[in-house]
Symmetry: C2
Subunit: 344 residues, 2 copies
């Protein structure tokens, strides 16, 4: 199926495009009334994630409603721990919780390397349905959590500001840490390859908790595993988004990936210099979308100007916040389309 809009893929490969592609992290989600209606129908977040028909429906909503240049499959990074044998629950207002966690070597016996066809077929089915319904309108992005970020959840058991239980293992039992992160990496590679086989046109790896590591630990516990993923995935472009890892930008830029995501703390000019030869993605502060239309347009144009001729994919520097007005999101998207076309 030839894509009618392949801006995302061409930008990811560093090719010249008449304008940059634009999409938003968490675009399929609570910002849209249409999403909230499907979410109510599903009864729970996890029901929605595991129902391929409904997941496909909310994946496509932002393409129809917002006019983004890519869809990203509606799912959660925590499906990997679940597929490895560590189920999670989603607690209203509090986020994910793992009733059981990994804290010592003997806990590893509970885990298996995920087999995506056995354990994650609901995601693969959602991708197939989405691809069929998108009918080539825009590319579909697949994704997974980065191994270190998934390790954080599997050991800490929930979100945390410090993830001190997770980091404790790095210092007290580095062997366990490497074993677990290695198992997660194997599971993630198999999972991403299955997503690609099912139809994903690009895959993004989210290292959401990269920022809690020291530069040295990031080199030990994160980068080698990201490298393994990048080296294994040769079928489609790979985007690495390591939130808060300002200190690792050069090293991430040396990974064999196509795109590097920037959070809103990462200065674009500085990042262009640190990461030459790669497409960048981001990085408008999601809070800008709380401002006036005029200010959204101004800040978006500033971002476009800062990228200049460097290949990039317009996005926020973090997932869009749930209470953002969809009209403000549309203002961001339209500004990218109009202003960038003018600049080019």
């Amino acid at each position: 199926m030839k894509l009618q809009n392949d801006l995302l893929l061409r930008a990811a490969r560093g090719e010249a495009t008449q304008r940059p592609p634009v999409w938003l992290m968490r675009q399929a989600g609570r910002i849209l009334a249409e999403y909230r209606a499907v979410r109510r129908e599903a009864g729970s977040f996890i029901n929605l994630v595991t129902n391929p028909e409904l997941a496909a429906e909310v994946t496509i909503q932002p393409v129809d409603i917002l006019g983004v240049d890519a869809a990203i499959i509606f799912s959660d990074i925590l499906v990997i721990p679940e597929a490895m044998g560590l189920p999670y629950e989603m607690v209203e207002q509090r986020g994910p919780n793992f009733p059981e966690v990994i804290r010592k070597a003997s806990d590893l016996s509970r885990l298996r390397t995920a087999d995506p066809h056995r354990d994650l077929s609901y995601v693969l089915d959602a991708i197939k349905i989405t691809k069929s319904r998108l009918n080539g309108r825009v590319p579909l992005i697949g994704f997974a959590g980065a191994p270190f970020t998934i390790f954080c959840y599997m050991t800490e058991g929930r979100g945390s500001k410090t993830f001190s239980e997770a980091k404790k293992i790095l210092y007290s039992d580095p062997e366990l840490a490497h074993q677990l992160i290695g198992m997660i990496t194997d599971s993630t590679i198999a999972y991403l390859k299955a997503q690609i086989a099912a139809g994903a046109d690009l895959v993004q790896v989210f290292d959401s908790w990269a920022g809690i590591l020291s530069p040295q630990q990031y080199e030990t516990y994160a980068l080698p595993y990201l490298r393994r993923i990048c080296e294994a995935i040769t079928e489609v472009p790979v985007t690495i988004f390591a939130k808060g890892a300002f200190f690792a930008r050069e090293a991430i830029g040396r990974l064999p990936c196509s795109v590097v995501g920037l959070d809103w703390n990462m200065d674009i000019a500085e990042s262009k210099a640190l990461i030459p030869g790669k497409t960048l993605q981001g990085n408008l502060d999601p809070c800008v979308l709380y401002a006036s239309y005029e200010q959204i347009r101004r800040e978006t144009k500033n971002m476009l100007t800062a990228y200049g001729a460097h290949p990039f994919i317009a996005n926020l520097g973090h997932g869009v916040y749930p209470d953002t007005d969809p009209d403000k999101v549309r203002c961001f998207i339209d500004t990218v389309k109009e202003h960038a076309a003018m600049l080019h």
Copy 2:
């Protein structure tokens, strides 16, 4: 009262010392069984903060038990909002909560500029009692939250990963943001001056949520107010610790403060180059204290070596985590004392 151990003050002024001083953020706290006993006696965290006798007692505990080179007054950065008319409660396992918050200009009428002698006399009394009981053994550090960080709590109402309610105001009502941050700054200057008059030998300003701002916002909403504080406090050295503000290190280094705190993500060699002519403080990852004694000694020595001849105050890169073994803390402190003496 002449100090018997003035290493902290000499290091803060950039003077040569035979070894660097060492203390830990959150050293007066849950890591010590002796603290937990007093905390139980007090009945609640807020009772302990507001009881000068008990606050003085837990302030001095780490000097006696751990052998640190400075005491830091036991208190909380949220006493300022309370003194301004916005009381908080401390919810077990969840952290601070403000029943009322500031979201619009008319909410400001609830607030007043804090008068430390009227509203915060319990802290000033705790400082006086502590100074008297310390009897010149080590200096006493006073502290306050940075205006932007306090603004975050007063608008968001609780801790948050994104502080999106707080940041929303920066974009939607910058005037309200500047007004409120200005009032907090006035209150903070009066408060720090009162702490100094009561006996504080150095004051530290904690910008705990600096890392959620873009570099540009940090320049607009944080730095000018930090500058006002630094310019107003001429009596004693001032330490600025802006956690996560890696991007603002150069700018913070240009403030008229004496010491700049580093978190564990901030590379020491890089920070020395970015912040010449100032004493640095930090920055061992608090999670290192979960490791073996051997590893604690090794990581601590690496930190000392990285500072080299640059004036510094040994500390962690964040507050010590509550479940840290005090013997591990002692290992860190002793390593600084022994190894640094050897190096000098």
